[in-house]
Symmetry: C2
């Protein structure tokens, strides 16, 4: 009883008490080294602004060829780097391809330098050396000393406004550089057009229009200084820009209308020693007028500390949705850092008045919902959106509304594949919007027109010219010689089709059900019973002759080899297991996967995971195997699931820069961590079941949006006690290896009793 | 009495009766040969769409250098040409520099060709031969036979929608080409970005964004076909365009989302013999959504003939504002063609809902007025806007509101100099918005905040970094060695400043009056009494030593030589005459101007007028001398004004392709014709007086917007009887050489009695 009261006290009093506690466990620096592709800068949950340092801005292309080194800079920051180029306002978190890096700002003193210089010789440009010893990265706050010029840089943000605070030495030569050329995954012609207006001596507006991963992207800004500049100017590397009668003016200095493709502007100030120059820069997908609206509504004043406090309070509120009790600081840091990374993307993509830019480049208004962008759906349909259905159901429904708006605005009549900033970028495979929509509908989190949503799914899945679908529809498989990565595509289409079938069944639309439940069996068409692997077929119907089941490249798969990908039938593990020789043979396959020695040569060409992202031949740093450790639940050996998931948690996640074994992929890697730590995982989104694993905390309290509380109470767990001995749901023994979505949403307690030995049979 | 009744009958019955009669006198082909720079295509009065053929689309640059031949194609059409490349939707009328030519459409049959081909070998591309014998150019209607493919092309337009009607032969290979690369004054990088969406099998939307005369211009369209296409495709010359994951698709055929810098799209049809394919293409400065709104509101149906009738009815209404009686068909053709050309620019620049793009690239709404663009103010302040104050006062006030909006949106806080499509292009000199505003205020046509308007004028005139103004303000002249064309600038600034002073005086703002009336005397600072000419001074205060008063280039003037430009003190002819040695000497100067033989060498480099645009050394093809023939009224020899203006009317204006002796300049040349034909001219806009000349018609009836009628009744005029014997206003002898604006607006009759001999003294 006493314990209950304490628990009740905790859960209601959490907001005040936990504020300090929870924030401290978030380490935004996690994953900034090597392959995590996270960024350390300031953002609020699902915020439009991600204000973060760029440690290099190397070009996407060198001499017309792709520059593989650029890959490191997907998020603009690499922990090993010694210099900072500046602070820009948009970043992806954890992606494996990139864009953005808009509106780079850098403070300098002394002689004005308008080129960034090189990492080896930061003094040759405006960049500066820095040291991690002066660096602080917290949710909604980032601080670093720019050593070359002795400037303290601090950043915070609201949803749509980045707030900079630069503490200068005393000088008559303080500069703020606004580099419109800089960008992530940049190249000479990436800027289609840029435009700056100096509206008065504190207000600057403009836009940057790019052609990159997003083909036609335009982002607007409005930026104010806390004090008037003394003078300003630009270096306009007017490549291919028509000068016309603008030549009448000396546009290099104090000329308020700048436009072109290669502009770097600067603003000069005098500063007293220790004087702070503050900058607020608001974004808008709509217009500079929209950016100004955002700026004035979100941060009307100049209180940096208050904005930081507000940002951290937002984080505290979101992080408190799951309160964990655990002995280890490291586990808390892992957990709340994962929560942090899970709550960054998708990002808000509308102005404070609800206006946003659509795929048709027209301005639309989001009526009654928040419009989001940055949908890395091949990654996030697996665990991130299911996690949202549990602890962010309102946002998840809004994300689906945003996806349906995308569909309505798409001239191709397609739901998003990988979408960002009013663009489809067509990255990766499948049509996993369908999974996200089905998961929400099947779990009852669908405050939108479900029949229209189903129509959007069906139209998308029937789009014959999309990525091998014509073959898939006509023949049930995709010839590898017609369309590469064919097996991955068939397997994922089959799963997505199952999702559509589930929704159709629920809505009583039997024609659609029949069509898509049939398609969902297409995975069988690429199974080669001779080798025991999924295997690419050719146009003539034969299996591709040369075939290396360990090789990731050119074998019919993408971001995975046949060993891993062959296990991808999340909607029907039982049938898959039967097809692959029954439970015993399948278990042996799984065991080998986790224990075999993968020759180095198979790792050599893998670009998006670190060596640590692999256990045996099990690849966790990429997504296709994220459900695999749970498959032992279907082979009668759940203790192996329990053992494996604990191993993966331990091996793959650490707090600290190198703490992620692969791209965080907009939160998918983190969402896996959260579910698995809680002891259950959505092996098949679109079904309402969560497969049980081995909870890695002592207790977790989920504050649900419906006002209920779901507690995972774990008795006797430890690094050794990873095996589940028994499970109770609300005190009643649970005689199944899963819980349902309703079990969670109804509130209650799931109690795990743990021990050091597997409980077999 | 009987005559009075007939006249009353005519003026009220004119709309019905004159409809047929007036339209027939308009010859849009006038000025399409050589230097007129007019276009023959379809437009409605002040319409957003100017749908007209391009007879060539030669590049603005060749091998990185300006291509002087492009100058001929300012309006896209040259009468001598033998081929038509296609029909685009935006054209300037009569300008001396260019841009536009948006969304070129061309119908073809047979083998698909996506390059325009050459004029010498039209069969090498999609262009076609044509002949003037099949060409019909009327207000709001254009027709021509495209001979190569046996297609009859017909064009008409509403304000914002171009309507094409193509009559095809029977074929399974009919094509409509939409060339997004094509443009007037085009070059490789002029397209910053273009974007097309095939929304369904009849609807296409998109935009074209360019960097040219307008630095940052974007124009949207929505286009519908009268029947569905069979298939479509694109040639995307993807120069510098990032392809990314769009490579998944075959984008060349039936791919509905096109973007890049070098796109030519095509749409294929089957046609029965004589089948018409119709296209409606709506423009918008705001968005494709705006274009669709415009399309649906302005032309919901498909009745080409009705749209043509509606367009011609709009013309009839405008043309009827001045009803002339004259014996000669040629005079009527001259007059109504001039009226037509005067009523094309400025053009409507807002959607049907009042939204338009501002100079800040934000979307604004014109509340309670029509927003206009294309302000060729150095030309049009002289006679076109004064003409509007008489017969288009409402539109003129709206044009000024548009100019004030431009000012409010200008980061430089400048009224327009030469503005088009949400851009300032800074062409030519002065700040003649000020004159247009002053003229309206002084004539009582100012339904806007006059004090704010004065502030805008003052801020503009104090803009020190604009085109030599800092010198002008500080020293009263501009050193030619610091800023070229210095004398022209000083003279025009001085006049503009006088305009500001008049408004300030009227509004009782004496500080401003004092400042600007003083500045208005600056013309004296560039008068060289030794030579008797205005003459450039250098930074050291001395006159430039080498000086050729006949030469137009590099002598301190622009589009005029010292002989012509020295007469430019419109606000104080009396003082100017005194300064230049008194009436006798001044009269001798004027006489010489009109009668001297100008050596050919002085004409060789003049690009924007024809040899016919010169009488002696008097240049009518450019604007600075447009008031000069009227100056005899100040020397006591008004009969010479009467003689000269009749000579100019005869020599410089003819119906027919070569009917204009220089660029029509957005209607300024035509407005000069209209005023002068009526017998009076605004020598000094901003003053409310019109200087009397020699009316060249028998009678003119001006239908004023205030409901009154002003009649110019001319007794006994003929080609020989050009001399005014006496003048009566409402039957009372007029003992002055001018009438006032009030004289006109009060209604009444101005009666000229003409004779064959000068009436001296």
């Amino acid at each position: 009883m006493r314990r209950f009261l304490l628990s009740a006290f905790l859960s209601s009093a959490v907001p005040a008490m936990a504020q300090e506690n929870i924030i401290q466990y978030v380490k935004p620096i996690t994953g900034t080294q090597r392959m995590g592709h996270t960024y350390p800068g300031a953002t609020v949950p699902f915020g439009m602004v991600q204000l973060s340092p760029e440690t290099d801005t190397i070009p996407y292309e060198m001499n017309g060829k792709y520059n593989p080194d650029v890959y490191k800079y997907c998020a603009g920051y690499q922990y090993e780097d010694k210099t900072i180029v500046g602070f820009s306002h948009t970043h992806f978190s954890g992606t494996g391809h990139s864009d953005l890096g808009d509106f780079l700002i850098m403070p300098t003193v002394g002689r004005l330098q308008l080129n960034p210089g090189t990492a080896d010789h930061p003094e040759s440009g405006y960049r500066s050396s820095f040291s991690h010893s002066t660096e602080v990265a917290e949710p909604a706050y980032y601080k670093v000393k720019l050593e070359d010029d002795n400037i303290l840089a601090e950043l915070t943000a609201s949803n749509r406004v980045g707030f900079h605070q630069y503490t200068f030495p005393g000088t008559g030569q303080a500069h703020i550089i606004l580099d419109m050329m800089s960008g992530i995954y940049n190249y000479d012609n990436k800027n289609v057009w840029t435009f700056i207006r100096v509206e008065n001596d504190t207000l600057i507006t403009g836009f940057r229009q790019t052609n990159g991963w997003a083909r036609t992207r335009i982002e607007y800004f409005a930026m104010v200084f806390s004090k008037p500049f003394v003078q300003y100017g630009q270096q306009n590397n007017a490549k291919d820009v028509y000068k016309g009668f603008w030549r009448k003016f000396d546009q290099s200095k104090n000329f308020p209308e700048m436009a072109g493709r290669q502009i770097r502007a600067y603003f000069d100030f005098n500063t007293a020693p220790g004087e702070k120059i503050k900058i607020k820069l608001a974004l808008s997908p709509v217009s500079t007028e929209g950016a100004l609206k955002n700026l004035r509504e979100e941060i009307p004043g100049w209180d940096f500390e208050q904005v930081k406090r507000d940002g951290q309070a937002l984080w505290t509120k979101e992080l408190n949705k799951i309160h964990i009790e655990s002995g280890s600081k490291e586990e808390k840091e892992n957990f709340y850092t994962a929560m942090y990374h899970a709550f960054i993307n998708p990002t808000t993509y509308m102005d404070v008045d609800g206006q946003y830019r659509g795929l048709d480049m027209n301005i639309h208004t989001a009526n009654g919902y928040t419009n989001y962008t940055t949908f890395s759906l091949w990654d996030t349909y697996r665990a991130l959106h299911p996690l949202f259905n549990v602890i962010q159901p309102k946002r998840n429904a809004d994300m689906i509304r945003s996806m349906l708006s995308h569909y309505e605005q798409s001239a191709q009549h397609m739901l998003p594949i990988w979408a960002h900033y009013a663009n489809e970028n067509w990255c990766m495979i499948g049509y996993h919007s369908v999974s996200v929509i089905a998961d929400a509908i099947m779990k009852g989190n669908a405050p939108f027109d479900v029949n229209k949503a189903l129509d959007a799914c069906v139209t998308t899945a029937r789009h014959r010219s999309y990525d091998g679908l014509e073959y898939y529809i006509d023949r049930g498989y995709i010839p590898e010689d017609k369309n590469g990565s064919s097996v991955s595509k068939v397997l994922e289409y089959a799963y997505d089709d199952w999702c559509i079938a589930q929704v159709a069944k629920k809505l009583g639309r039997s024609d659609i059900y029949e069509e898509f439940i049939k398609r969902s069996g297409n995975y069988k068409n690429v199974y080669d019973s001779n080798t025991g692997f999924m295997r690419p077929k050719l146009n003539d119907g034969s299996f591709k002759a040369s075939f290396d089941a360990l090789q990731t490249h050119d074998q019919g798969f993408i971001e995975g080899n046949a060993w891993n990908y062959s296990l991808y039938v999340p909607h029907n593990p039982d049938e898959m297991i039967t097809m692959m020789g029954g439970k015993k043979q399948f278990t042996a396959h799984l065991d080998s996967l986790f224990t075999m020695e993968l020759p180095d040569k198979y790792f050599a060409e893998t670009e998006d995971i670190t060596r640590d992202g692999i256990i045996g031949n099990y690849v966790h740093g990429n997504e296709p195997s994220h459900h695999v450790a749970y498959l032992y639940n279907w082979t009668g050996q759940p203790w192996k699931t329990q053992e494996r998931v604990r191993m993966i948690l331990k091996k793959m996640y650490h707090p600290g820069p190198d703490g992620l074994g692969g791209n965080d992929d907009c939160g998918q890697m983190s969402a896996w961590y959260i579910f698995t730590t809680l002891g259950f995982y959505p092996v098949c989104p679109g079904a309402d079941q969560y497969s049980l694993g081995s909870p890695a905390i002592d207790k977790a309290t989920l504050q649900l949006e419906n006002g209920k509380t779901f507690v995972v109470d774990v008795k006797n767990q430890s690094d050794k006690n990873v095996y589940v001995q028994k499970v109770q749901l609300n005190g009643v023994p649970l005689n199944r290896l899963y819980i349902t979505h309703a079990d969670i949403m109804n509130g209650g307690t799931l109690t795990f009793y743990m021990g050091a030995k597997p409980r077999k049979g």
